[in-house]
Assembly symmetry: C2
Homo-oligomer: 344 residues x 2
């Protein structure tokens, strides 16, 4: 019941429609080993060109596709790289980053799948990922703990790489230093002479892991100055922004770092509708450097984020897969620099 059966004996076409490598071997008049050598492009074994051609033609005629899982079971490891999808909405920046990683890993002959760990958290999620027996897991977000890393490694993952603000024991860490984003914005505002800085913190669940370090970064930037920082929780919603704008003058703020460009657009519109001058009365800074910020009037100042290149990350994954015993490394990878436009 629990044993993995051998592939069953060749059935008649009526019984079974999924073609096997045995069917290919029979049609090509070669051994199953030869089929395997040819279709897996094994270079260790010399096989004549006509035989190769016969195998490929037979596979094509039968519509035979190798079975990744069976191949993994035979080889003892897979080429599957698993990337959980983050729990927060994915912006254009991150979406391009994922594309780059997939492209770079597929050129190194890995298959990348994204897994939506919806409803699963932390180490439960790790167990669900482990069932797919990936050779590597790239975790873009928080929640995975040392136990989850251990579960993945015990299930055969050779590389676990996290993209988080803090390293996780046992995993290679690419540190996305969101505090640096807040620090760039805060320092810029202080340098522009602002002294009472509001920091918008999205109320939607899942953002805290990014928004709290950004807030902390602004606080760090004002240390040693007479500037103050006020946390402003806000839902991504016109009515909430209008309420905030209505209370704006009683808050006595002269600047706002609005988490990202989309929140900045929301807040700037509400302030303008309320008659608060931007940047005269209040400076506004976003983050992400999206196109929309350039289309606003005044043009939006923003923090440009530099994510690591997909190729860089793919090469790290491949290196660790080849040398899984290597000591987990930590790299700071998120660059942040202010783009000063008209709103600050």
């Amino acid at each position: 019941m629990v044993q993995i059966p051998k592939e069953p004996a060749p059935p008649s076409p009526l019984q079974r429609s999924v073609p096997t490598s045995a069917d290919v071997a029979r049609l090509a008049g070669v051994s199953r080993a030869t089929v395997s050598y040819v279709l897996n492009n094994t270079s260790a074994v010399r096989i004549s060109e006509p035989t190769r051609r016969r195998v490929h033609e037979a596979a094509k005629e039968l519509g035979y596709v190798p079975h990744a899982a069976a191949r993994s079971l035979r080889a003892g490891h897979s080429r599957l790289v698993l990337m959980p999808t983050p729990n927060v909405p994915i912006g254009p920046l991150y979406s391009q980053f994922i594309n780059e990683i997939q492209w770079a890993l597929s050129r190194l002959d890995y298959t990348v799948v994204q897994h939506g760990g919806i409803g699963l958290r932390g180490d439960d999620a790790a167990r669900a990922w482990a069932e797919l027996r990936p050779v590597a897991v790239i975790v873009p977000g928080v929640g995975l703990g040392p136990q989850g890393v251990a579960v993945l490694k015990r299930s055969g993952a050779k590389a676990v790489v996290t993209l988080t603000p803090e390293p996780v024991e046992g995993a290679h860490a690419l540190i996305l230093d969101h505090a640096g984003v807040g620090h760039s914005a805060g320092r810029h505002l202080v340098e522009r002479g602002r002294r009472r800085i509001g920091v918008v913190v999205p109320e939607e669940p899942g953002f805290g892991v990014f928004s709290q370090p950004r807030l902390a970064g602004v606080r760090r930037a004002v240390q040693g100055t007479d500037a103050t920082v006020t946390e402003l929780p806000l839902a991504y919603d016109e009515a909430a922004a209008a309420r905030l704008a209505r209370d704006w003058r009683s808050l006595g703020l002269d600047a706002v770092f609005a988490y990202n460009d989309e929140y900045a657009m929301l807040v700037m519109r509400a302030l303008q509708d309320e008659g608060v001058g931007v940047p005269g009365e209040t400076a506004v800074v976003g983050a992400d450097d999206l196109m929309l910020g350039r289309l606003l009037r005044p043009r939006l100042s923003t923090v440009h984020l530099e994510l690591p290149s997909g190729r860089h990350l793919a090469e790290l994954v491949d290196r660790v897969v080849r040398d899984p015993a290597s000591v987990p490394t930590t790299h700071d990878v998120l660059g942040a620099r202010i783009v000063h436009r008209e709103s600050s």
Copy 2:
């Protein structure tokens, strides 16, 4: 070489670190069949509560995670649903839709993975997907042909569902009628008295499958009127939009349907910077009904899209998996209605 080996005999802990169901059986003092019954929650076999507990405790102690692929090989089918990631940037609307599908399918005990078929097209992509032996494939985009559907089915996929403007032979089709989106925009503009309608068509690769039906929908909407339609290819880029705006008056257009809200924002900004009055001289309509359209001044008119519910799609997938012989069905699922604001 090509045969799938049985799980090897229990090795010593030093030799092998991935725990197997045999290890769990030994520690719990039960048979491997019992381990399988308990961990797969088989209801057909009665197993006492103390035994269940012993198995769960042993699995936990050893860090044993079932192997999805091995289980699939035993069962002859997987619970894996594969969704290729589309070739075009994913907007917030679509991203929420994918989340819903994943959530709904995971409640039906499927595992959903997204596969970035980057660099692969059409039936080559289908072969790469087939290697993972999914039980169902949901294809959100074009390129898959009848041959690709056949490859997937031969490899064990019981349900192939496409989300495309046209049905594909052999697959169940949820028809996203993008012509309807253009038709809503075109009819609205004609009803508002506009007679020379420009239609922005993104120049970026991959958009044609959506933009061409939208253009055709506008053309259909003006049939029988004296209105004309002019195709306006445009890159998502400020300089390109500025060039279009500079030539605007010589084009003699009094309205533009700008593909989606983001292009509409780009075009409206360029027209306003050039001194073209919106909506006075030129009406602007987008599509997608994103928040940003409400934040623009004038507020952006748009076409609201109604995607099918994730639950609806998940139930369709499950129904077809249970009855794979069912005749492929075709459903129109994209609702489109104009949201009239200030820009038109």
